[in-house]
Subunit: 373 residues, 5 copies
């Protein structure tokens, strides 16, 4: 039982380590003018990867470009373009895009500070959306937590991610295969599809958390170990952090549905309502899990008390039975000169042992009656 | 006392096992296009059962049909039709219905993902309502938890259930007997009647939970056992999940009362207000139960402490009485050459025992005064 | 101290037994058509008692009638009539009244299901109000909890109670004596007077609860007993249930003040504001009491820990003093042949006892310094 | 350390005794007609003291009158009059005032029932305000808790207090000295000044509570005593009650600012906003204190557990060291005939003691490693 | 491990000492007329330092002035002036400024009472804003908590600070360097920049708190010490107080965005939204930290119970093994004349020791099975 436990623990540690980032506040920036671009994530050596998907009805083109300038021509065409930037540590690239797409410096700043809570900001020409994406890597048993920023314009959708690798492959596949809804829908529908993929990935994480809860819960009832407390505590913390990531998403989605900027088509609203529903479901589940985890702590504490009670009972039974007997044995070990009992013939073999057995029997009967045994 | 306890526990386990489904998030879907129909419940071999009740004033017809196409003709008539589908694992059937009744793909998707929270969605031609139904099987001591989806149109009401068996028999009976209100009312009244039946079934479940609470509460005060903790914990969890199922229903019902789609008749509103009231009552009761269950955990912990105190007192009394005496017995068992007391004539029979009895008496008096005995 | 404690406990038990009814959900009804009249309270053999008070300025008549038909003539007159029905198990009578006064079947149903939460429903011809009444019987030390239903029309006020006996005697007295406000006011003022009497009775109950809290609180601080925990737990539960009864009353009263049906006179509104204030005061007090009771549980737990600490200290002091000494006594009881100390002349009378006394003194001094004694 | 502790405790007791009144519900009234005047406070032999301050620009008159009739003439003048009544047990006086100033009977009733929560009621001719005043008596270390009722008319301000002695002396002084704002302001400004004085007195009480919290907090961390628990519990209760007194004041002040009756001048509004701010600050502080006090209970419980742990460790160390040794001593005290060790020459002086010392050393080393010592 | 721990503790103490000021209510003022200027902070000997930054497009002037009168001329020019006053204990200076800039006496009072919660008050000619600034002094490991008051007029911005030293150096630097946004923006943009600097400093404090939480959390899981409890308690208290400082800031910022006074330019609103977002992030983080700290207390308590359990097990194992054996040794130390076993030849060397070893072995096996070892 040690091995899988250890593994699980190691795994939990890694998971926590990744989620922790969520609460690290952005401090590198303090003291700079607003709109000054500084990347607050971990420095990466990786080159930026820019991939473009351009589509309009039957036309579909997917390519990877070297420099961001190559994408600028797309802005003028009527076709819908999804420009995805993996890696935001290359500040000049971000600045060039900001310049070209007329993005407010504060928005660029938010894209680079990768500890934002989900939010939506409505600019005239585009909507800026921040989301948090969780990727569960099955091989490494690791959860990666990334900020995804979306700039949704009339004909283009820009997405910024911290690293290569995301939960959008299914969306790309649908685009390639030419799913009618996604091809004919606007970029707002594409944005919806990405958000839907992200919310779906939350369900995946929750399923993992749910499995952990079930596993620990079963153990707590039978035989709680010290490690279980740590795990419960970690679950609690993870749920606090998950909640912090998901809760504001609700507001983001209802803002989108209100659709004040006019960038969301009527037909997409119904789909947004659907993601909204899923988000509520995620929040609901998180809250239920939190309630359960709090309850588990009570169960753990009670189990500890129960165990202590059991230990104490054993001690008390042994002590209560043998301490008085030891006294009697001690009495007959005294060396008084005038000690009549010592000379009675049947005192030892019968008198002493019978008395002892009766005493023991009586005690045990009493303990039984008190339900200690 | 072991047998009924075991039975209760087994029973509780089964119950939990069924309710648990509520929180399992839908993961099979992740990555598919929205509106792709995938059934996420347990695969079933059962054929789909489609039953139709068609009525208008005096006319009443009830039949079971083989294929869904047979029901399509009903749509054109003025009579009111209730088409109930038991079993939703047969995706083509669902798709055909969706096609014919012009149901949005997202709605069909929600019908198939059987872990929805209660909700109401207003489409132009119909209202889509999701409810959760709890069926208590008296024979198996089992609670089944199912998703019931309603499509309420102008002249028709579609209901989708996961399995055969529901809480609607009383409604069917009233239809058959020709109750004036239900016959002359629209399908909106019929929908109300079904919702009322579901809310009534919650009261039934709550009654069972209430009995459990009362039983455990009485035991906790007298002599709490380790199993009781588990039961309290389970009750707590069940209430968390029940609350999750019932809470959103309030919103559903008040949305229906606001009646924006015009599919709800004025005369039905008063009945909806009644179900709304019942729902509030259910929620109220759940909250009170939750408060009580939390209080029970405190009582359990205190009872444990109390028991420990009792055990410790016994140990302390025994040890405090006999340990010093054992020391004195030990003293007179020492082998010093020059040991005057050993040679005093009445030292043993009187001196020693009188001293011992006085010491014991004194101790007991002290314990009495401290209220330890 | 046993006798009064026992009495109090018995009393508390009875009290709880009565209040419990509040949370029993209505299950007898499940499956019936809405508006089907079934009485869910305890079956009673008592006949229904119908009493009528009819008044208009100087005219005042009070009588008890045999059958409900006798009251129907009053409806046509301009005089104000208060028809009070004690006992609602006679369904035909209720149906006749319903018929005559044009009461919606759902209202009749609610009158009979005596576990309603307070509510107000506005029908065109009358307002339907449900209240919960608590009667403290001084002789039996018992609290009765009843549902009171009011139908407030233009010229009549119907009240339905489960049993004979209520808190309205003071109102009747004022009517008889011809208090100017009550005689000249409409039936809405009468309804107010009844509601005021009910809210006043809550203060009475709260006073009893407050006395209990004070009594237990004092005891908890000095010497908590096992029974006190049960009492605290019961207080907590009672407060949960009281809150459930009173909380919705606030909404009822503010609905009445909004006076949408036009059945409430302007001059009565100021009085309703007064009852509303009292209700807020009741709720406030309940919340404060709940906070206090929760705090008491913490105090109880801490007191238990404190007591355990004390017990453990005694054990530890005794054991720590005598166990080492017993070892030394044991040492000199060993039978080694070569045992020089045994032959030293003053070893026993002086050496041994002086060492013992010094050891004890040292230990006690240490315990003193650690503040264990 | 005993003396100051005792004193503090006595003091705390007195304090609690006074605050308790706040939650005693009004029961003397039950059953009487609304507006029947009954004084529910403690019966007092003191005569009523009526003092009048009349001012208009340069004119200022302050006098004490014998009978209430003397004040009636003031009503007709344009000058601003503050009529303060200390002592409300003399019902006729109150009735006469009510008559003359046209005060609604329900208001008079509220003035006499001295357990009202703060509230504001808007009558056409005047505003009725209830406040709670806390007076800390430095000499007696006592907190007095009184209800202050204000009737604010166009030219007059009536104040009713339960006892002689209040926190308004600074306001009187300003009036006498002819502070320009207070002399030229209307009676609404005067009412504001009184309310400001009351809110300021809350800060004073909170400062005392804060000192208590700091004192106990420091002690809890170092060496918690049993009395500290009681004090923490009392602080908690006091804060519950303080909150109950202050919370509704917020609403009162914002109602005044909305100024619907037209009795509040525009220029006073800014001052009301200031008191409002202070009230929020008071509530904030109360909430923070409550959070802290709850945290202190956790600390207390943990400290108890810590202490118990320490005691248990001492017991365990002693027992673990000496019980096995006692066994060995017992072994060599056995009387077997064939007992070779007893005859070995150096067994006792060296063998036995060296073994003993090694055993003790080993044990202590183990405990050290386990960090028990 | 002692040294760094001690240091951390000392550091924490200092931190707490500084933050505590936040909750000290203002009492010096009680009883004075509103608007009477009394400084409630610590009396300082320092002279007041007045620094002026005057700028308009290309023009930039920064100077320090001796008397406040020197700044009055700036009011007439079109250039934007930031007048910063460090030290508010010199009341005449404050009064002169108040006079000249037409500041309401209540505002001046609030500036001097340095325990205000953040707020915004809208006067016709200017907006009054109160903020709380936290400065972390890296050298002294100290947090200073100061009130910063802003008066934002059309062309001027007055800032009042308690002491020399603030978090505004970066803003000054940007002004000097001539950052285009800050130079061309109005004083409202300047006010925004200062608020942004303050909110950024909160992130810095939170980072320190986060480090503390992480450090303690790790230790709690491994080997909790008594001091850790104190630290957890202090963290909890600090978070309560931080929350009290930051929470109202949200309201302040949304009031500014609503921009009713017309003193905030449209172009600044977007920046205010940005600070608003950061404030929400700060509050979010504080809440998550609070949740975590509460969880840590549970972990601490459980760890204590665990440790106690371990101690008890050792005691029980030792006692259970040796107490019965001691009894047997005692038995064979009895001096009965007729004691056959004593004369059996192999009884001692084999019989006794084999029995003893078997008994010990059996016990250990039992403990193993119970998982106590």
């Amino acid at each position: 039982m040690i091995n899988p436990g250890k593994k699980l623990q190691r795994e939990a540690k890694r998971q926590v380590g990744k989620i922790k980032k969520l609460i690290k506040p952005k401090t590198k920036k303090a003291g700079l003018a607003p709109g000054t671009l500084v990347y607050t994530g971990e420095k990466s050596e990786q080159p930026i990867k820019i991939s473009v998907i351009d589509y309009l009805g039957e036309n579909f083109e997917e390519k990877e470009v070297k420099s961001v300038e190559e994408t600028f021509s797309l802005q003028k065409t009527d076709s819908k373009s999804w420009i995805n930037i993996d890696g935001i540590h290359h500040i000049e690239t971000i600045e060039k895009i900001g310049d070209r797409f007329d993005i407010h410096p504060l928005v660029l700043e938010d894209i680079l500070h990768t500890t934002q809570r989900p939010k939506l900001e409505d600019y005239e020409k585009h909507i800026f959306i921040v989301l948090r994406m969780f990727i569960y890597n099955e091989e490494l048993h690791e959860i990666k937590n990334e900020q995804v920023s979306l700039i949704l314009g009339k004909h283009y959708l820009l997405t910024f991610q911290e690293d290569i690798g995301d939960v959008f492959d299914s969306v790309r596949e649908r685009l390639r295969k030419g799913g009618p809804k996604i091809r004919n829908g606007g970029v707002d529908y594409l944005a919806y599809a990405l958000m839907d993929a992200i919310v779906d990935s939350y369900f995946h994480i929750l399923e993992k958390v749910g499995e952990d809860i079930e596993e620990i819960e079963d153990r707590l009832v039978v035989n709680p170990e010290k490690d279980d407390l740590k795990k419960v505590h970690r679950l609690r913390r993870d749920l606090i952090l998950l909640r912090k990531s998901v809760w504001p998403l609700r507001e983001v989605l209802s803002q989108m549905q209100r659709n004040e900027a006019g960038l969301i088509n009527k037909s997409t609203e119904i789909y947004l309502r659907d993601v909204y529903d899923h988000t509520i479901q995620v929040i609901d589940t998180i809250e239920s899990y939190r309630d359960m985890v709090v309850g588990m702590l009570d169960v753990y504490l009670s189990s500890l008390s129960n165990k202590m009670n059991e230990v104490m009972k054993v001690l008390t039974i042994i002590a209560t039975v043998f301490i008085p007997l030891t006294f009697f044995a001690g009495v007959y070990g005294m060396n008084f000169e005038n000690f009549p009992e010592l000379h009675w013939k049947w005192m030892y073999p019968w008198g002493f042992w019978i008395f002892t057995l009766i005493a023991i029997g009586l005690m045990l009967w009493l303990f039984k009656r008190k339900k200690w045994m």
